[in-house]
């Protein structure tokens, strides 16, 4: 386990390094960011001063190493736009994105696991068909369209829910549904497939032979085994939601990292974009690692001996 963890750590570092290269190279496609920083009404002198101040006139590799060096110490530089440390900026906004991501994945799980379980328990029943419909619709529904439709119906036609802000949990209902629905199909399918497989297993028959109640058989004995791949998938989906949060946060005016990323791209706020890309990647790596740990906990064959 220790060796495995170390290996994972090395891979994670290599990935982070690669991503840092990509994000750095990517954003320097744009050429000289000094004009951007200076703003609409800045004159040439201001632009020159900025170029000097940020070191844009130095060779690219020098800028890269300087950046990586600082990044290793948790210093991603200063946002061109906000003029505050990018690290502060990201960590100030990360809770919203993570909160949204967690509630969305929770929504997806709460919706899809019971449905997936029931669909597998009663194949070709109404529940199964409902589950199938939900999942097929979920795959085909562009999230921004879904979000706008929700706003139109639940905030405009029937003003029941707030369409912007992140003050209370009520504000998170619509964003959660939109983002969570996006992850639902995959989780539901995998649950259903896994459950179908597990329900045919011998140990399920054993459990029933012990006279255990159907609920116990289904949830204790079957789900526990079927859920193992679902955990990995959920982690991956949570990672994907970081990307999905860009659209959702923009529409619902949630000031999270996804929206920050999008605005930073539009503002050419390179240090912020680079850092977010890197942070998102790291989160993904951490998530998959956590999922593995969780799997190890769920599956004693991995954990023990």
């Amino acid at each position: 386990m220790l060796i495995y963890t170390l290996k994972r750590l090395v891979v994670a570092l290599l990935v982070a390094l690669t991503i840092s290269l990509i994000s750095f190279g990517l954003l320097y496609l744009s050429g000289d960011p000094a004009t951007t920083i200076a703003g609409e009404s800045a004159n040439q002198a201001a632009i020159e001063a900025i170029r000097e101040q940020y070191g844009f006139n130095r060779p690219l590799y020098e800028q890269y190493f300087a950046w990586v060096g600082r990044a290793l110490q948790g210093d991603f530089g200063t946002s061109f736009y906000f003029k505050v440390p990018v690290t502060d900026l990201i960590f100030e906004r990360l809770p919203v994105t993570l909160g949204l991501g967690l509630s969305a994945i929770a929504f997806a799980i709460v919706l899809s696991i019971p449905l997936g379980v029931l669909a597998a328990r009663y194949p070709n029943s109404i529940v199964d068909r409902l589950a199938l419909t939900i999942s097929v619709m979920g795959q085909a529904m562009p999230s921004f369209w879904f979000a706008l439709l929700l706003i139109m119906v639940f905030s405009f036609m029937y003003p029941l829910l707030p369409s912007s802000g992140s003050e209370t949990w009520v504000h998170f209902i619509m964003p959660t549904v939109v983002l969570g629905y996006y992850a639902t199909p995959a989780i539901m399918r995998l649950t259903r497939t896994g459950m179908l497989e597990v329900l045919g297993a011998d140990y399920i028959r054993t459990a029933r032979a012990k006279g255990l109640r159907p609920r116990v058989v289904l949830f204790k004995h079957a789900l526990r085994n079927a859920i193992i791949p679902v955990v990995s998938l959920s982690a991956v989906q949570l990672g994907f939601m970081l990307g999905g949060s860009i659209v959702v946060e923009t529409i619902f005016a949630l000031h999270g990292t996804g929206y920050l990323a999008w605005e930073s791209i539009r503002r050419y706020d390179l240090p912020t974009v680079q850092a977010i890309l890197l942070v998102f990647s790291l989160i993904y790596i951490v998530l998959t690692f956590l999922a593995d740990l969780l799997n190890a906990w769920l599956d004693p064959r991995i954990r023990v001996g």
């Binding site: 028959r205 032979a209 012990k210 255990l212 023990v304």
Partner: protein, 337 residues
């Protein structure tokens, strides 16, 4: 007093696209406390489905029907699913063929042992634990207490089957159904396990249905034998009667396939039954064994054969399903011997 388990005209049908598969076609038998019934037959004859149908563990598609299916006077055909699950694992327990896959990989041995007792008895966790340790010792597992925390994948096949047996015994059942409990195990371990089961059965005075295709086992442990072929019992009786005087050509064929110490001479080829089992899909006309039977005559192909009762003791359930005269059967049996 009625027998512990009474089964009359039990049928199991599985609907398929091409028509119903009649897997078990009207079988009847009884098992009493302290008695061991062996159901013998080759693969696919319906013996496993018979045991599953008794436990109400058939696959979802399969349908069960019976004229009488009574456990200690309780009509299992009419009992509600929840009441059935109260009986299952409690008064009737089952041991399966595949010890490698029959334990849930995600839970410890202890957990899986204890949950049966916790489900059916109002006991504390500690009591359940003690019972589990006790039974693990009983089935010959050393260091029982420490085993409780182990997971199935950490145990060998023989150990797992012992665990399965212990699990079946947790609630002190009155009837044990063992479906080929030793097939998947090493030969050396087979004997140990079998031995263990018989011992326990005697000790606890349980009724036992042992399903096997191994006549050697039958000879050693059975009180009564039911020979199944193509979903029917073709011959039944006490183990002595059946082994001494096999009436049905199929039984005779089976017995010819095993070496009998003292009777089978060294170097003599063992018998085999040529041909294949008929399809069980759709209605079947005549004797199911007709296509493989050396004595087949015209009536065998057209007449449905009833189970003829015979033997000195009508309660012993001695019967056979053959159109040949009793005399003829006895003649044929002598050839086997």
């Amino acid at each position: 007093m009625a027998a512990l388990l009474e089964v009359e005209n039990l049928r199991v049908d599985i609907p398929l696209g091409a028509g119903d598969l009649h897997a078990v076609r009207g079988i009847s038998f009884q098992v009493d406390r302290g008695e061991t019934l062996c159901i013998v037959g080759e693969s696919g004859c319906g013996k496993s489905l018979t045991s599953l149908s008794l436990m109400d563990l058939l696959p979802p598609k399969a349908r069960r029907s019976a004229d009488r299916l009574a456990f200690d006077g309780i009509d299992l055909a009419k009992v509600a699913p929840s009441a059935m699950s109260d009986i299952r694992g409690n008064r009737m327990a089952m041991i399966f063929q595949e010890p490698m896959t029959s334990l849930n990989p995600a839970y410890t041995i202890g957990n899986q042992l204890e949950e049966a007792l916790l489900r059916h008895r109002n006991v504390s966790g500690r009591e359940a634990r003690e019972r589990a340790v006790h039974l693990l010792e009983k089935v010959g597992i050393t260091g029982a207490a420490s085993r409780l925390g182990q997971y199935p994948h950490q145990l060998s096949g023989g150990l797992r089957q012992r665990v399965m047996i212990a699990m079946a015994l947790m609630c002190g059942p009155e009837l044990i159904l063992a479906d080929e409990p030793t097939t998947a195990l090493d030969v050396t371990i087979q004997a140990q396990i079998l031995h263990l089961m018989i011992e326990l059965q005697k000790e606890f005075g349980m009724g036992m249905i042992l399903i096997t295709h191994d006549l050697g086992i039958v000879a050693r442990v059975a009180d009564k034998v039911a020979v199944m072929y193509a979903g029917q019992i073709v011959e039944s009786g006490t183990v002595n009667e059946v082994f001494e005087n096999p009436m049905h050509p199929y039984t005779q064929g089976l017995l010819r396939c095993i070496p009998v110490p003292g009777k089978t001479r060294r170097g003599e080829p063992l018998g085999s039954i040529p041909g294949i089992v008929p399809s069980l899909i759709g209605e079947m006309k005549g004797c199911a064994f007709a296509n493989r039977c050396p004595y087949t005559f015209e009536a065998c192909l057209t007449t449905d054969v009833p189970l003829f009762e015979t033997g000195s003791n009508p309660n012993a359930g001695r019967g056979y399903r053959c159109l040949l005269s009793e005399q003829q059967c006895i003649e044929n049996a002598k050839e086997v011997a």
